[in-house]
């Protein structure tokens, strides 16, 4: 502690990680977590585009139920399968931890990099390899099993791309495991002096909880898809009843991973929301410990509830009852988080900028997503709602309305930090409003469709469902346009955006105390940290048109316990 530098750590830097080295090879072989994060971001957003186009095709086909010339019924089945698989395995799972987390996590810790930079690059290339397998599977005939790969359909289907995509999922799983492992070690070993667990930003708590799930649950998915490949390729009966296997066993294996995976998707998003709401309300987060522990609680409980996907599968009724009861345990920590975020708004100084728009959208959408989970956790009502559009609507509110909206919010929150430029607030708000309105039109109608009995994965429907389907498709177009505008103004800002100050929003965690974009090594010296949610030492600086953290006062406040 004696030799640490306590001066403000925003020395004028001329060099940054983008200009540190140049050329294709400097990116391809980089070990810099920031560059790997950016490469992940580009890859994930490209996949998001592909998955989004598939979604729009699916919604458009539902405008015209029956035969249409541009999409056969088999192609429809392949399109919704591809949409689901791409969005889950290539987009949402890596989006926050691997893309944003990679960029932000070491900087928030005041570290130069993650613990294992080479493993980090390796996991990115594993992602690329997994994505190549997915693309190859399309050339090999695509796959039409639904993203859940339920047996025995997946062991019998004639679609040629099933084995390639399963191998892709297997490889993507390792990418996810390595990222999780890397983050666990980094958070344990590379925290700076003064950053105790309860001084650690909540985003890192969430990423840490996520990493635990990634490391513990993903191997089960790997084994499951490997068994399915063996069954398909060598006709060894494991899941297919006609070869002596048990199809319900597959569902247990699959959901043992895929339910925790839901929290791999949404927990990091919750972490982002904790950051966004605190920073843009400019006041201390409310109930730090409750939010932090609720992340860990969700991570633990997430392993115990997989059977609630199988209330109608034919598993024993006793298990249905037990899984239903345990499922409610994940509702509590989720509710606690929502109440804590709300209380953080109380007596804040709330900036109504694009990022906060996304944060508030998250609160709205996650509340709906969470509450509509209740009738699905109750066995008797789930039996009516299972495998209908109600489930589709529910998980889109959680996966997209929460996880992805938080990711887009985080992208805006850290965009000035990552790129060094500001985006257009005007277009940002318009696009966010379009996404919000479009999303609700698209998916809220699906609650009614589902509770009225419309099964999922149908390309035909009864005339009574027509109006809801039309509104839903209309909403999806508005949402698509919103994302298109987002892409345009973000890319435009790269060329014409105003130069970003180091701290445009008034954050107090470490990433706001290095320049935008950060230098190659993030910090010249290991920084000391105060309370990252204490904004009392954050002041507006007219000369840079940004905020500065008075590090001296910030750390002093943390030691005296002030600022709470």
């Amino acid at each position: 502690m004696t030799t640490l530098d306590t001066r403000p750590i925003t020395p004028p830097v001329t060099d940054n990680y983008l200009t540190f080295r140049r050329g294709f090879l400097s990116w391809a072989f980089t070990l810099d977590h920031k560059r790997i994060g950016v490469m992940y971001l580009v890859a994930v957003l490209s996949s998001f585009f592909v998955g989004g186009v598939m979604a729009l095709l699916v919604r458009t086909k539902l405008l015209f139920p029956g035969e249409v010339s541009w999409m056969s019924n088999e192609e429809y089945n392949k399109a919704f399968t591809l949409h689901g698989a791409v969005m889950v395995f290539l987009v949402i799972i890596p989006s926050v931890p691997a893309a944003l987390g990679n960029f932000v996590l070491p900087i928030m810790l005041g570290a130069k990099d993650v613990a294992f930079p080479r493993l980090n690059l390796f996991s990115f290339y594993l992602w690329v390899l997994g994505a190549i397998c997915a693309v190859y599977s399309l050339l090999a005939g695509g796959f039409d099993t639904g993203w859940t790969f339920y047996t025995p359909y997946s062991s019998q289907s004639e679609a040629g791309g099933i084995i390639p995509v399963l191998i892709g999922v297997f490889i993507l799983g390792f990418s996810s495991i390595f990222t999780g492992l890397n983050f666990i070690v980094t958070i344990h070993k590379l925290r700076p002096p003064g950053m105790t667990w309860f001084r650690m930003p909540l985003f890192l708590w969430a990423v840490y909880a996520t990493a635990i799930i990634q490391v513990l649950a993903t191997p089960v998915l790997g084994i499951t898809v490997a068994l399915l490949v063996v069954e398909r390729a060598f006709q060894i009966g494991i899941f297919d009843a006609s070869m002596g296997g048990d199809p319900v066993l597959f569902q247990h294996f699959f959901w043992f991973y895929s339910h925790p995976a839901v929290y791999i998707m949404v927990l990091p998003g919750m972490g982002i929301i904790s950051e966004i709401i605190a920073v843009h309300s400019h006041r201390h987060i409310f109930g730090f410990r409750f939010i932090a522990f609720s992340s860990i609680a969700i991570a633990i409980f997430s392993f115990l509830v997989w059977g609630h996907h199988m209330f109608t599968s034919g598993q024993s009724p006793l298990m249905n009852v037990l899984f239903s009861a345990i499922t409610f345990s994940v509702a509590i920590p989720s509710a606690v988080k929502v109440f804590n975020w709300l209380a953080t708004l109380y007596k804040g100084s709330i900036s109504l900028n694009t990022t906060m728009f996304y944060g508030l959208s998250f609160l709205f959408l996650f509340t709906i997503g969470g509450l509509t989970g209740i009738p699905l956790a109750v066995i008797s009502t789930d039996i009516h709602l299972h495998d209908t559009y109600f489930v589709v609507a529910h998980f889109h509110y959680v996966m997209m309305g929460s996880a992805l909206i938080a990711m887009i919010g985080g992208l805006h929150h850290w965009w000035p930090k990552m790129t060094g430029v500001m985006f257009s607030e005007f277009w940002g708000k318009i696009a966010c409003a379009m996404v919000f309105v479009g999303f609700n039109l698209c998916f809220f109608t699906q609650f009614m469709l589902g509770s009225q009995g419309m099964p999922r994965r149908y390309y035909l429907y009864q005339p009574e469902f027509k109006m809801y389907h039309h509104i839903s498709t209309g909403g999806s177009y508005i949402m698509g346009l919103g994302f298109l505008i987002t892409a345009i103004y973000l890319i435009h800002s790269l060329f014409a955006g105003k130069k970003a100050p180091a701290n445009p929003w008034g954050g107090a965690s470490l990433e706001w105390q290095c320049s935008s974009p950060p230098p190659h090594d993030n910090f010249a010296t290991t920084p000391r940290v105060g309370d990252c949610y204490d904004f009392s030492a954050v002041h507006w600086d007219e000369s840079t048109q940004g905020y500065v953290v008075d590090a001296e006062a910030h750390i002093a406040a943390a030691h005296s316990g002030k600022g709470h």
């Binding site: 019924n73 089945n77 099993t145 339920y150 025995p152 359909y153 019998q156 009843a241 006609s242 296997g245 199809p247 319900v248 309300s281 006041r283 409310f286 109930g287 730090f288 410990r289 409750f290 599968s313 034919g314 249905n320 239903s324 509710a335 606690v336 929502v338 804590n340 709300l342 209380a343 953080t344 109380y346 007596k347 100084s349 709330i350 508030l360 609160l363 709205f364 509340t367 509450l371 209740i374 009738p375 956790a377 109750v378 066995i379 008797s380 009502t381 039996i383 009516h384 299972h386 495998d387 209908t388 009614m448 009225q452 099964p455 999922r456 149908y458 429907y461 008034g506 009392s536 709470h564």
Partner: protein
């Protein structure tokens, strides 16, 4: 539902009074009409959760909007001082939801135990699901494609699948159960009110099963006890009562309705080869009887299979085998997707089907596939 009814309904055993011709629960904004003895209880739980959800949703969003308006940023110096924790408050909003969800869990648990155990006197119907067919078998051996059940009597469906997972969902009854290959699953329900006239309840397949998953739906008719008793006897015998000379045009289209989910009559593409002329080699009867046919089966012209001294003496034998062992020969380029009809169609039924093929030109190519009236123009569509 008025509040005064809530408590009695919650305590009441699930036995709605029969007789009234109106649904047990009417169609609402959220739920379709309820027609089984489960619907009252289940809808009540659903509505109860919904009201709680409305409350918390408007609470959260209301508070959020109020705070956002009241505490919006003013000026550039933004530091705001607010409480960073409050243990009593936080424990409160941890414990209160816990109590609520425990109550809700028990409501669902109670409904589920009723749905799971079928009464001992339940009327059993065996269900066989295959891609993309439902077959319902009644105790007297009668089978049907749509489900007919007696009113006011518990019905137990014992189900198995011939290929992949399916799931039987009757939304108005609020019941659903996966149909799993390699095991029997069951579900029971009781509908007290007969369906009137053209009315019926939808039955959907809700587990993705491939290409025609969306078409795997059927109708459920509820008949009063005496109607059902005569229907099921009639259904067991209907084929016997048709005289031989009327067999192909009376029984043929009725049986073909089951084939129609995969085969068309007009040559259009579907899951299986059309019975009509789709590849220029004539309809199914013509191409099977043409010694020079270009129609290919297993990669060879069909004529190599049919003829004196060949595997099939005549076209009828080949067609019969295609119904009973559908995957022994595959028409190019179709895959092995057809379930066997062994045990489902007897000799007379197969005669009717082959007879219909033989006289295919006489039939309407659109459902209900009835025989066209001789010489007259096709009737105007209704």
């Amino acid at each position: 539902m008025p509040v005064t009814n809530l408590i009695p309904t919650l305590l009441m055993q699930s036995s709605a009074t029969p007789g009234a011709a109106q649904p047990v629960t009417p169609k609402t904004f959220w739920l379709p009409e309820g027609a089984s003895t489960f619907s009252r209880q289940n809808d009540w739980v659903f509505d109860f959760i919904n009201y709680i959800n409305y409350f918390f949703f408007f609470l959260v969003v209301g508070i959020m909007l109020y705070f956002v308006w009241k505490y919006r940023q003013k000026g550039r110096e933004v530091y705001a001082r607010g409480p960073s924790h409050n243990t009593v408050l936080e424990l409160g909003w941890t414990i209160l939801p816990t109590i609520i969800v425990v109550i809700i869990f028990f409501m669902g648990f109670r409904g589920f135990t009723q749905m799971k155990v079928a009464p001992a006197n339940a009327y059993q119907i065996d269900v066989v699901a295959s891609r993309w067919n439902w077959v319902f078998k009644y105790p007297n051996g009668a089978t049907s494609d749509d489900l007919y059940i007696p009113a006011g009597k518990p019905v137990n469906l014992v189900m198995r699948s011939e290929d992949v997972l399916h799931s039987l969902f009757i939304r108005d009854f609020r019941v659903k159960q996966d149909v799993v290959p390699g095991r029997y699953t069951s579900l029971w329900f009781q509908a007290d009110n007969p369906t009137e006239g053209e009315k019926f309840h939808w039955l959907f397949c809700t587990e993705f099963c491939g290409k025609d998953h969306s078409n795997m739906n059927r109708k459920v008719f509820v008949l009063n006890e005496s109607d059902f008793a005569s229907w099921v006897i009639e259904q067991g015998r209907w084929l016997d009562k048709i005289p031989a000379e009327e067999l192909y045009f009376k029984a043929g289209p009725k049986i073909f309705a089951r084939c129609a989910s995969c085969h068309t009559l007009d040559g259009k593409a579907s899951t299986g080869p059309s019975w009509g002329n789709y590849d220029g080699s004539g309809n199914i009867w013509k191409r099977s009887n043409d010694p020079n046919t270009a129609h290919k089966v297993d990669g060879k012209p069909l004529s190599e299979l049919i003829g004196v001294g060949k595997q099939y003496e005549n076209a009828k034998s080949y067609l019969r085998n295609s119904i009973l062992n559908p995957n022994e020969h595959l028409v190019d380029p179709f895959g092995p997707a057809m379930p066997t009809f062994r045990g489902q169609l007897n000799d007379k039924a197969i005669d009717a089907v082959i007879g219909m093929m033989e006289h295919l030109d006489e039939f309407d190519t659109k459902a209900p596939f009835a025989k066209k009236t001789d010489g007259a123009a096709a009737p105007a569509p209704k």
